[in-house]
């Protein structure tokens, strides 16, 4: 990921900042520029998610992508935030701790790094609540 591309969405990754449509009361993460339901009638506002949620489903990664090879086995899950949106995130937990429906809360972790000389990407992961 390029430095500028990461930086553009940095605050959203650090603090789970998405959007809320005050017209239809729908929440979005990542943030949207337009409400897909209300279209031009939508009224989007910035919204900071509380971060509490539950695991909808998960997988344990044994063969990881480049940069994550030494973290295996690790859990990757779809997390449903209490306000509604779902997002994919690494769960910081032992594989045997993982359960569908388990409650999770956010933590601030390293998401990756460009290289030994590159920038470090920080953001949100989840741990069992």
């Amino acid at each position: 990921m390029s430095v500028s591309r990461f930086w553009r969405k940095q605050v959203n990754r650090y603090n789970l900042i998405g959007t809320h449509c005050s017209e239809c009361d729908e929440y979005y993460y990542p943030p949207r520029n337009m409400c897909p339901t209300c279209r031009r009638d939508g009224k989007l506002e910035s919204y900071k998610f509380k971060g509490d949620g539950e695991v909808v489903t998960y997988t344990i990664i044994y063969t990881a992508a480049e940069g994550f090879e030494h973290q295996t086995p690790y859990a990757l899950a779809i997390v449903k935030l209490d306000e509604g949106p779902r997002l994919t995130s690494q769960i910081v937990a032992e594989p045997e701790e993982m359960k569908i429906g388990m409650r999770v809360k956010p933590v601030f972790r390293k998401l990756g790094e460009g290289s030994a000389r590159g920038m470090i990407y920080y953001g949100t992961k989840f741990i069992p609540a």
Binding site: Q10, V11, Y14, N15, K48, H70, Q71, V92, E94, V107, F108, R109, K110, L111, I120, Y122, K125
Partner: protein, 349 residues
């Protein structure tokens, strides 16, 4: 105008390695080491944790504990000797992650193990002069010890954050005064680009730790006309269990006074977080009106002494975030091989 602690928060990674597991690898006698160092195990960061993530978690805990509006924070200072970047501040990452940006000042501090208390003093000055409303001072480290070096038995990971303010009704503890004693002494250092620090062995003891801690502590007590028996608790920098225990005795503090804040046997030395962790553990237990005496030490070298009085407000905020004892509970133990992987000690081809 009174200045003091509005809130505090600590963070300790979940992993631990026992001294006996390190000693087995290097052929050392674990019993002698544990008795000599008074350290049984130490914390180890996760693969995706570093000083910045630890500082953020500690800072968020401090903000949550007292339900602080982060926009009131006018300064963020992070003290560490293991900042993830050589050039690029950790404090901007923390400030963004706690929502304190953009109208604020920030900088990283480095003074071996007392960079965090130096940050507290800077914040005391800024809030005391009315230049800012609240200051966030953090001490956090993922400290390094070379494989086989004596430091490897104690170099741990953790962080503590203090929100410093000047509104008396908000203060959970008043910092009555602070006093520092600083000289230039090469007892411990790490050169640019080097992965592990060097130290002067026993040279770090008498001319380093003991001289600076006793000078700072005695200097403060003289300045404000107090004596050890005036305090309910005392905390001294804890590179191991032996040094703070001995310096407490030298200064006239009892074992009972330092017991609550002496977290090093189960945690190791969290460097910039060390003394601040002891103060946090003490605030977790202290009652309104209790007095705490604390002295941090940083190699290089200097001692920062503080005289603190706990207020009624402590009861309202104490349970707002996990205490140090909560963070020490339920560790996951790892062997030396996993520890070496977590600490990046295995060089990949």
């Amino acid at each position: 105008m009174s200045v003091g602690i509005v809130s505090y928060g600590a963070y300790i990674p979940r992993y631990r390695i026992k001294v006996e597991d390190i000693a087995r690898v290097w052929g050392d006698d674990a019993d002698i080491l544990m008795a000599g160092l008074m350290v049984n195990e130490k914390s180890v960061p996760d693969l995706d944790e570093d000083t910045a993530t630890i500082a953020v978690e500690a800072a968020r805990s401090a903000i949550i504990r007292s339900d602080i509006d982060a926009q009131r924070i006018g300064a963020v200072y992070t003290g560490s000797e293991s900042h993830p970047y050589a050039v690029k501040p950790t404090s901007t990452i923390v400030a963004e992650a706690v929502g304190a940006t953009p109208v604020m000042t920030a900088a990283d501090f480095e003074f071996a193990c007392k960079a965090g208390t130096a940050a507290i003093q800077a914040c005391m000055g800024l809030v005391g002069s009315g230049m800012i409303d609240l200051g966030l001072a953090i001490g956090a480290d993922v400290s390094q010890g070379a494989p086989g070096d004596a430091l490897e038995y104690t170099a741990a990971a953790g962080g503590v954050a203090y929100v410093i303010g000047n509104k008396e009704s908000e203060l959970a503890a008043i910092i009555e005064d602070t006093y520092s004693f600083t000289t230039d002494i090469p007892d411990f250092w790490r050169r640019e680009g080097m992965p592990y620090p060097e130290h002067g062995g026993r040279f770090t003891g008498e001319p380093g730790y003991f001289k600076h801690v006793t000078s700072a502590a005695n200097g403060l007590m003289e300045k404000i006309d107090t004596k050890p028996s005036d305090y309910d608790y005392a905390v001294f920098h804890q590179p191991n269990g032996k040094f703070p225990t001995r310096v407490a005795k030298m200064l006239g503090f009892s074992k009972e006074q330092i017991k609550t804040g002496l977290v090093v046997p189960r945690l190791g030395n969290t460097y910039s977080g060390s003394c601040m962790m002891g103060i946090a553990a003490t605030l977790d237990m202290a009652q309104p009106g209790d007095r705490i005496f604390a002295t941090a030490f940083g190699s290089g070298a200097g001692g920062d002494a503080f005289s603190i009085t706990v207020t009624d407000r402590i009861e309202e905020i104490r349970n707002g975030a996990p205490g140090v004892e909560d963070l020490l509970k339920d560790p996951i133990y790892m062997d030396y091989a996993m520890y070496a992987k977590h600490k990046g000690k295995i060089k990949l081809g």
